[in-house]
């Protein structure tokens, strides 16, 4: 059973949103994932996550609201893709 943590970084000045996301992601335990809410797509976060061994899925909910799910690579319990299958 996966556990999801919410992280709302809307209205923060760069690079705070990226810093907070990296910090929260590195604290993830097996089976846990992060749900980051941002007011724009954090394109520069993706290469940082890739390099640290995280997977992510971005959903544009509105022009100024993006939800990014982040979990550790290989963690099938935390993966939202596996859960929906």
């Amino acid at each position: 059973m996966s556990k999801e943590f919410a992280l709302d970084v809307r209205g923060l000045e760069p690079p705070e949103p990226l810093g907070k996301a990296l910090e929260a992601a590195s604290a993830l335990q097996p089976g846990e994932r992060l749900c980051m809410v941002h007011d724009r797509e954090p394109c520069l976060l993706y290469p940082l996550l890739d390099k640290r061994g995280f997977r992510y899925l971005a959903e544009a909910q509105a022009e100024d609201r993006f939800e990014i799910l982040i979990w550790r690579k290989g963690d099938a319990d935390a993966s939202p893709v596996a859960a929906s299958l």
Binding site: E13, P14, C43, R52, L57, A58
Partner: protein, 442 residues
Amino acid sequence: MSLEPGLSFDQAPPISVPFRFFLSAPLFALLAALLALWYGPALISSRWQPAALALAHLMSVGFLGFVMVGAMMQMLPVVAGAPVARPVGVARALYLLLLPGVLSLAGGFLFAAHWPMRLGMALLGAGFLIFVVAVGSSLKRAPSRNPVVLGMHFAVAALVVTVALGLTLASNYGWEWWLLGRVRLANLHLAWGLLGWVGLLVISVAYQVVPMFQLTPVYPKLLTRWLGMSLFALLLLWSATLLMQDEAAQDRAALIAGLLAAAGFGAFAATTLRLQWQRRRKQSDVTLLFWRFGMACLLLALVLLLGAAGQVLPAPARLQIYNFALAFLFIAGFAVSVVSGMLYKIVPFLIWFHLQSQLMGVAKVPNMKQIMPEKGMRRQMWLHFAAVPVLVLSAFWPPLIYPAALLFGASMILLEINLLSAFRIYRQSAKLAPQAGPQPTR
């Protein structure tokens, strides 16, 4: 609503791509200040003065051009989702062409020498051609068609016109011939360069960076959708007036197009100031103040333009004074201010980002304030704020060019020191990176 994987390729070009341009830019402005000190009040006598032309190009192609080329190559992947292909090679080629190109052009003007002018034309022509092809093909691939991307299309198109007109005008100096309609073509070159390339790029980039870094509400949709397009159309109309036979009608049409463009820029400046007023965080910062000052200078330039149109001063005095006062207000007051303000956000942000990427949590990444300390930025900002009014007043009383150039030169030295200090922090921190050690800056 769709759930999509984020873009997985590396979004950011190596730090050397934008930084080689950012770190060189203030040196051109410093050179311009030294030139002003050397030539003194004689500089203000005519816009066709060799030294005035050299100075104008050191500022516009050297300082503004370099920062904008570097910033665009950095921003394209983020705002358009389409990075420039082979960014390191392109940046290196651009740098090697544009740097000697600007110096040759300035030398050609200054010494009225044919060969430096021809060399400058070849280098700048080739450099901007590579830039336009590289950035243009990246913009063409861009999956997103947001107002920032659209505005960048218009800005790059304006750059093409500016360079084409510039090469035509420069050929006057490179070879012994006299271009008919030189004054009108030069005015058009100025309009496409300053209002088109510089103005449209600042406006479109502002849509993204003002809300993001200054934490303001977003720009109104009406403005972001129509302003860039309308200003570009007005520049086209303005150019078309050259084809008119009747000179009086031509002047009138150009004046109307100019006034409408001024209204567009006025709307942008007023909206930016209003958004800054409505920002969520109340304490001021250097970027906010630089932008506020830049918008005030832009509005003042528009008032001067209206004064010129309304013929408030007698004609000969009016022309000379307005030309210089307008140029100082637009280039130093508006463009240099907003560019400096942006550099103070982009530079520490990029250093933070590249260190995050390289250090991988093994060492603590310095924060923005440690990378770019507030005190150094504020000192430079106040020098710049002191330099601009004195520069503008020197158009009315030329001996003031000495204190103006000293203040402006000093502010550019401080800007360079601030940027270099930040880059030194990057170099030092990058040494702590695991495995392969610091990434080559290339």
